[in-house]
Symmetry: C2
Subunit: 422 residues, 2 copies
């Protein structure tokens, strides 16, 4: 396990590039007691993580032990703004550049998540009670998806690697490359689904279409793949044409709720996060109709150990409408339709590693990203990638693959040894 | 899959031994229209399974197609009694001998379960609303467990095989013997738990203690095993002495709720069925305390595709207080304590095969069982074993193995390949 731990905890060289000047000894002293008090309040609110908090050229508070990183606010106004709503305003201030960081960004967020796990802040209950993710109606989903996935195929191609897989990879060993692990993930899913030549597959949410092509090319199946992101569907169709697989793979620019027809397998990788818990029974109904009492299904999704909403800054600024479910919530996909859950696998640490490798690619291309967008966008996405990494390393997020089958279907795998047979 | 299907659907030669005379042509005709009407009502209530229903020397109703079996009531009074509450009274009438069967008992029950899956009888809703399993308080559990497990080690040793494993076995192939599959199950659980020499394990509900000995002998761990069945604990202690493992395995005659101390692994095989859904968060708390933020746990249990109570005759006559959970219900063990579910495996068809092999042993020893108890007891247990088999072949029951770990523990298996490595 040492190699794993090491590869997960290796300090990223990119996130410490912002250096904060040491406060000069001649800074005005009169505001400092108030600032220090405010900084200590923030630290206490966060459960006193092992971080140093400071105002630029001003007050600072240090933790009891060694600080994992130093967080510096440009001025008291920024600190006050963050204090009113840390979960939301910290991200905005970081994106603006009015909060900077010395040390490892992932390490800093891990410290916050770990400290937060031991405090039950009443604010979070109120937030959960008042907050609802953006609705995922047919029109709402189209808008939500457009806002994330249609910001440019060129942008995503800078850091997702050759497969354009924008979901958790599967690392046979922690030493595998990102591309190797994305291909291994596709094979892992196909093997779990026991795809056989000549079978038909429907894919709900197909991203840039690589998995549909992979299934058609390597497992001899016919695929209908649904997606409401126009940019992704256009990319996928061109790719299928280029590969000579357009006769075997059909990309449909439509909502998963409009899936029609019967298939041997139903598969959905990284779409459930955008479905919304209220829509789970309906999504189960779509799979039930598509399989018609036989066949197999697999859903691959980010999840949680217990029900909770997505971190609010990420939900608002990066993934509108998204919500990773707890397994208890996921069961409302399967239980109303008498689906049998055959196999659940949790690949949490694989997602942490995937994110590490995306971050490396992203930072290597950050100059190009700045040219495509601006410096604020780079900081936003740096924070999003680091926050997601920290969420997986600290167990705030999980990655579930759930294999299922209609309840009366006895044509199911005898055990899982075949998935691991060489 | 053919071998699997074949071994699951092979007709048992034992269950057709009760032969029903063909009704003589000279039977009184006046009561027949009413009897035939009552028989057709029963058939309709059951969703018109492909079965023939008859009164001895009297009326009979046949299904549209070929009948899988013929069910014969001794007289109208028996039929009327069954009609008032089929789920409960059928079992009692079968045990009394006032209902007999021509054909395969498992096949008959499969036909009833399959037909019932398509009918949503209002009676079952009312039953669910009014019925509660016998309470599993500390005293209630002791009484419930005593009523099933303390009826005699000699009786169980007649049909459970060499391992005395009274839970689902794991068949590497469907051709494995019962004993091979029980040993494979123990190894499968140990490999999932990644037991290492020198580690400590606590077992909640240890049956006749074989698994605790297996872990100690083959994986070099120290085990504390809890059980409230006195007969089983006495048997287990003698066995440990005989095997020279009494220093490594301690059997504690106490409730799982009284587990104290810290362990590297928490394991419970076939006890959750007796815990009661209301007690799941507390059971999670026991595991949480036992693991203290590290280690692994595994719960092996009969389950369901959706929440439902146990078949009432089995709950009343065989397993007082038992209730197999849906996965959504099981999550209330894990989610309140921030446990991560790492792996869920459904071994439904393995339990059907286990029950087939128990039934063969049971029927081969039925003369001895009759001598130990009486003919009524033999028929009760024959029905219980056949009903359970049919429940697993038709998907009314599932078998879940759930591997879990404290949420912040990163010392977890990288993937599952090691479980299947030779």
């Amino acid at each position: 396990m040492n190699a794993v731990e090491k590869s997960l905890s290796s300090t990223s060289s990119h996130s410490s590039r912002e250096s904060v000047p040491t406060p000069p000894s001649g800074a005005p002293a009169e505001g400092r007691p108030l600032d220090a008090w405010l900084l200590s309040k923030l630290s206490a609110f966060l459960g006193d993580p092992s971080l140093e908090f400071a105002i630029r050229d001003g007050a600072r508070v240090s933790p009891a032990g060694t600080a994992a990183a130093r967080v510096t606010f440009a001025n008291r106004a920024t600190l006050m703004a963050v204090l009113t709503d840390p979960a939301m305003r910290f991200g905005d201030a970081y994106a603006d550049g009015s909060v900077t960081l010395e040390g490892d960004l992932v390490g800093m967020l891990e410290a916050v998540y770990r400290a937060g796990a031991t405090t039950g802040k009443p604010g979070s209950f109120l937030r959960r009670a008042l907050r609802r993710p953006r609705a995922n109606t047919l029109a709402g989903s189209r808008d939500n998806i457009h806002r994330h996935y249609d910001i440019g195929n060129q942008f995503y191609s800078l850091w997702l690697g050759r497969t354009m897989g924008y979901t958790c990879a599967y690392y046979p060993t922690p030493q595998a490359t990102l591309d190797e692990a994305q291909v291994a993930k596709m094979d892992h899913v196909c093997r779990k689904l026991r795809l056989k030549p000549g079978e038909t597959v429907v894919e709900a949410g197909c991203g840039w279409g690589t998995f549909a092509l992979h299934m058609a090319r390597n497992y001899g199946v016919r695929v209908r793949a649904f997606n409401i992101s126009r940019e992704q569907v256009m990319y996928a169709r061109e790719h299928a044409q280029r590969e000579g697989l357009a006769g075997q793979v059909e990309y449909v620019e439509d909502d998963y709720r409009n899936i029609a027809g019967r298939y041997d397998a139903f598969v959905s990788i990284g779409m459930l996060e955008h479905v919304g818990v209220d829509n789970y029974p309906d999504m189960g109904g779509v799979a039930h109709r598509a399989l018609g009492g036989r066949g197999r299904g697999l859903i691959h999704t980010i999840g949680r150990n217990h029900p909770a909403l997505l971190q609010p800054w990420i939900e608002k600024r990066i993934f509108p409408g998204a919500c990773p479910p707890a397994l208890s919530e996921m069961m409302s996909i399967f239980e109303p339709w008498d689906f049998s859950v055959l196999d659940v696998e949790n690949l949490r640490l694989h997602y942490a590693l995937t994110l590490r490798q995306w971050t490396e690619n992203f930072e290597a291309a950050s100059g190009k990203v700045r040219d495509l967008f601006d410096a604020r966008f780079v900081r936003m996405w740096r924070l999003y990638l680091a926050g997601s990494t920290a969420a997986f390393t600290t167990g705030k997020l999980q990655l579930f693959q759930v294999l299922f089958s209609p309840g009366q279907n006895n044509d199911i795998p005898w055990n899982r040894a075949d998935v691991y047979a060489r």
